[in-house]
């Protein structure tokens, strides 16, 4: 993480804000987010691609921050857990997690939320998702506390809430009251 001579500036859009930040070739996106930009919401769990705690959206797709080289994200749009809530309140998926007690230690939660947000924004809106579909969408995020039941309940609940509206839930905090 030390600023060696091989650090180069890269441009990212992080949660809607354009930023320019230094990164060395061997620095991961997760390290840049956490240690250069102070966005410590995305977690450094296993740091080798097994746990999904570092999941962020790069150009809309969930990827592992710990195995993505920051330099290769130059020009990309990055969304992290910090970008979900607004001044109006929590994102509806976050609110559903709170209602259902879907977070215990909380370490997996930021990655879970990003996978859930991607699922809710891209799923077929005409019908409610099945439990199996939600489980498949979250299958790259490990939780060692909850046993997953309340997490699945929360995402299904958030989907049902979205289903009553015709808009996808991108950065939409209205449902969080």
């Amino acid at each position: 993480m030390s600023e060696g001579s091989d650090a180069q500036p890269i441009s990212l859009t992080v949660n809607g804000e354009p930023v320019t930040v230094l990164a060395t070739p061997s620095e991961t996106l997760l390290e840049v987010l956490r240690y250069r930009l102070g966005l410590t919401g995305s977690k450094q769990g296993c740091d080798k691609g097994d746990c999904g705690a570092c999941t962020v959206l790069v150009d809309g797709r969930p990827v592992l921050g710990c195995l993505t080289l920051a330099t290769l994200c130059d020009g990309a749009e990055v969304r992290t857990v910090e970008g979900l809530s607004t001044a109006a309140g929590l994102h509806r998926v976050q609110a559903a997690f709170v209602r259902h007690g879907a977070a215990q230690c909380g370490f997996c939660t930021p990655g879970m939320l990003m996978s859930a947000v991607r699922f809710l924004e891209t799923r077929e809106q005409a019908r409610a998702p099945t439990r199996e579909e939600v489980a498949a969408a979250l299958s790259g995020n490990l939780c060692r506390c909850t046993g997953y039941a309340k997490i699945l309940d929360a995402v299904i609940d958030a989907a049902a809430e979205l289903g009553t509206r015709s808009v996808p839930g991108s950065n939409d905090a209205e449902g969080a009251r």
């Binding site: 993480m1 060696g4 091989d6 060395t24 070739p25 061997s26 620095e27 991961t28 390290e31 450094q44 740091d47 080798k48 691609g49 097994d50 999904g52 999941t55 797709r61 969930p62 990827v63 592992l64 710990c66 195995l67 993505t68 080289l69 330099t71 290769l72 996978s115 498949a136 969408a137 299958s139 790259g140 490990l142």
Partner: protein
């Protein structure tokens, strides 16, 4: 925290430039595709290349198409998630779409590529560990040592082929298009995989995979890829098998291919299945094929779980799939 070692990173915009960079770097250069295998191995200290050449901006490695002979051609940099969802792949090579969709987990499939999966390094319970863990055993043939903990006295590394797409690609007789600064060639996926885990992929220095070509399927082909792992997501296969059956209009078998993986470094093409030619798929045939597969395929203690259990699993998967195709 598992920091990466220092390396230089190049992001060429053309295949020609990528090939030149790899040629100049020789053994010190590596292709970086999705990074889900290579970067973990670098974090584990299993390699220390001076230069990584990213293929993420090479248009020549993208796209899925059907050539004049009706073969499916898939660019090496196509992501596994896209391949799993791609209509052409699902229609013409369902076993490949299925295998791509079973690899790892959604995030890794959004990153990992077909070329990367075909070239995945072999895996072993004694290798994919931290240097401290490996060092406590004095290393092994593949890393920092000269003994094999899997096959005592063994001279070849027997780490396990773990890329999900390899067995179905071999069963479908697929070939890889390899390109370097000075030449290009086509190599069967079977020949691309080495029999010694220290050299798991038979790429020459400076070579990279441009695309994979799967020949056109005859009518009445059935194919499947079956994977056993403890979890339905995240895990590498603990044993896996691909089946391809071509039948005549009357249902009689014209060709039956079974390819197993996660045994050693190479895919195992089950031999002697010609004797089933002309027969129809029945429960009796399913059991006979499964028995032949089990006889020839002997898992080693190179990944987790009891090798005998994995061997029985293999037979059960083959029998159940053929049972599903009875009639």
């Amino acid at each position: 925290m598992m920091p990466l070692p220092r390396f230089a990173l190049a992001r060429p915009g053309s295949l020609e430039e990528a090939a030149r960079l790899l040629s100049d770097a020789g053994a010190e250069g590596r292709v970086l595709a999705g990074g889900t295998d290579l970067l973990v191995n670098l974090k584990h200290g299993l390699a220390a290349p001076r230069l990584l050449v990213s293929i993420d901006r090479l248009p020549e490695l993208r796209g899925v198409s059907v050539d004049d002979a009706g073969a499916l051609v898939v660019g090496a940099a196509e992501r596994l998630a896209d391949i799993a969802a791609q209509v052409l792949v699902r229609a013409r090579a369902p076993a490949i779409a299925g295998a791509a969709g079973l690899a790892a987990h959604p995030q890794a499939r959004n990153m990992g590529t077909l070329g990367g999966n075909v070239c995945l390094d072999v895996r072993c319970r004694y290798v994919n560990r931290t240097p401290l863990w490996r060092g406590s055993l004095g290393g092994c043939l593949k890393a920092e040592g000269d003994v094999c903990h899997v096959v005592p006295g063994g001279k070849n590394c027997m780490a396990a082929l773990s890329g999900d797409t390899v067995a179905p690609l071999v069963a479908l007789d697929a070939k890889a298009h390899l390109v370097s600064a000075s030449a290009e060639r086509w190599v069967s996926i079977e020949a691309l995989r080495g029999k010694d885990g220290r050299t798991p992929v038979a790429l020459q220095p400076g070579e990279l995979v441009r695309a994979v070509r799967i020949p056109a399927a005859p009518p009445n082909r059935r194919s499947a890829y079956l994977k056993w792992a403890v979890r339905h997501a995240v895990d590498f296969p603990l044993v896996a098998v691909a089946l391809v059956v071509d039948a005549g209009a009357d249902g009689a078998i014209e060709s039956l291919r079974v390819v197993a993986s996660v045994l050693g470094p190479k895919p195992r093409v089950v031999a002697g299945l010609d004797r089933f030619r002309g027969e129809r798929i029945t429960p009796q045939l399913a059991s006979a094929v499964a028995e032949q597969v089990t006889r020839q395929c002997v898992p080693l203690p190179n990944v987790l779980y009891d090798p005998q259990h994995r061997r029985r699993r293999l037979g059960v998967m083959v029998r159940r799939q053929l049972d599903a195709w009875v009639g």
